[in-house]
Symmetry: C2
């Protein structure tokens, strides 16, 4: 791979972690540029020009400016040649998991993290109890589907980890940061252990801090 990788985001951002973990597990060093939402850095003209929809993460690579974490995982998988089997059938299964994650798993599990940050008054977030109940219902349903799949499988697609695992694993890491133990889904816990045993693995706040940094390969 040629060119430097620059990741703009926040350690509080699940999608930012997903992209950082991918580069870490691929052994690709990168520059991290902290975007503080509390200080309004996502609203500056410079950042809005970079991030077409005002979201983090943004990845810069060789003049390309990439957004949407799952799409970035596909880009990195192709560019770095890792966590992406060549077989088209397996790639289709991976895409299905990426979209299922966006549809069912990530929204409630990421919300759990936001709810916890608000409860502990670490960020000025407050959620109506009706919304919290909805997050709980949807999170449990999605974790049930994941757990059932992982009863017979070591990874989501095939016998080795892929970007589908990295994508969904980040949700698990943030659910735990949101103070959820997940003991009702034992197959999910065993699968998360397998991800955490991969060479180079680092937990969210081990990998990224609230400051700019050079992350070595």
């Amino acid at each position: 791979m040629n060119g430097t990788l620059t990741l703009h985001g926040s350690p509080h951002s699940l999608p930012t972690y997903r992209v950082a973990l991918m580069m870490r597990l691929c052994g690709a060093g990168f520059s991290f540029r902290y975007v503080s939402f509390q200080r309004g850095m996502h609203l500056t003209p410079e950042f809005r020009q970079l991030s077409r929809w005002g979201q983090v993460p943004v990845l810069e690579h060789n003049g390309h400016v990439l957004v949407q974490s799952a799409a970035i995982l596909e880009y990195l998988a192709e560019t770095l040649g890792c966590f992406y089997p060549a077989d088209p059938e397996m790639r289709q299964r991976i895409r299905e998991w990426l979209f299922w994650d966006a549809d069912r798993l990530m929204p409630p599990l990421y919300a759990w993290y936001g709810v916890e940050l608000g409860r502990r008054k670490l960020l000025p977030l407050a959620f109506d109890p009706v919304l919290v109940a909805e997050f709980d219902r949807k999170g449990a349903a999605a974790l049930g589907i994941l757990d059932t799949h992982l009863a017979d499988e070591r990874f989501l697609v095939g016998d080795a980890p892929t970007i589908a695992d990295i994508c969904c694993y980040a949700d698990i890491a943030f659910a735990r940061l949101g103070n959820r133990a997940l003991e009702s889904w034992p197959n999910v816990i065993c699968w998360a252990d397998r991800i955490e045993a991969l060479p180079g693995f680092a937990a969210p706040f081990e990998l990224l801090a609230m400051q700019d940094a050079e992350i070595s390969s």
Copy 2:
């Protein structure tokens, strides 16, 4: 393209419409198999075996069983060779829109349709006013982003329609079925007019009914 295409789904399902519209606009005939959620057809062992996560749509093609509508759009785009520019940079932009749609646009706009069906007592759906307010807030935010992008562009990526447009257009069609006029987002309305002018275009309930059918090319 070789082999028959069989789409399992419902005319009430936005993701089913998205896939049906794609095949229609590509001039690919298909068999439609109606899955009635009210009659519990999505819970039968036969359907659960077909649809790994119990969702519609499912597309069968040449022994492949495909789920998740946006992933199916990518499969059809590659297989049928339409609405998918070959340029990798454009394909990356398209993927970003597909994931942005799953993240921001589709959930609230599809929910508007569900709210309307419940209000008119056409389906036994009821939503807490807190949830409805959240759908309204998120829907307006996403439509604002879409409208801003379309102020200077005829289509989402490049000068011709792609699967990104077909994906997001389906949300607009269902928001209108949900009795939303969308006049606050005039660029979205003009863009939707351009999609509706494409040869072969058909609205949701023009294309699919609550019964099995053979849809000609």
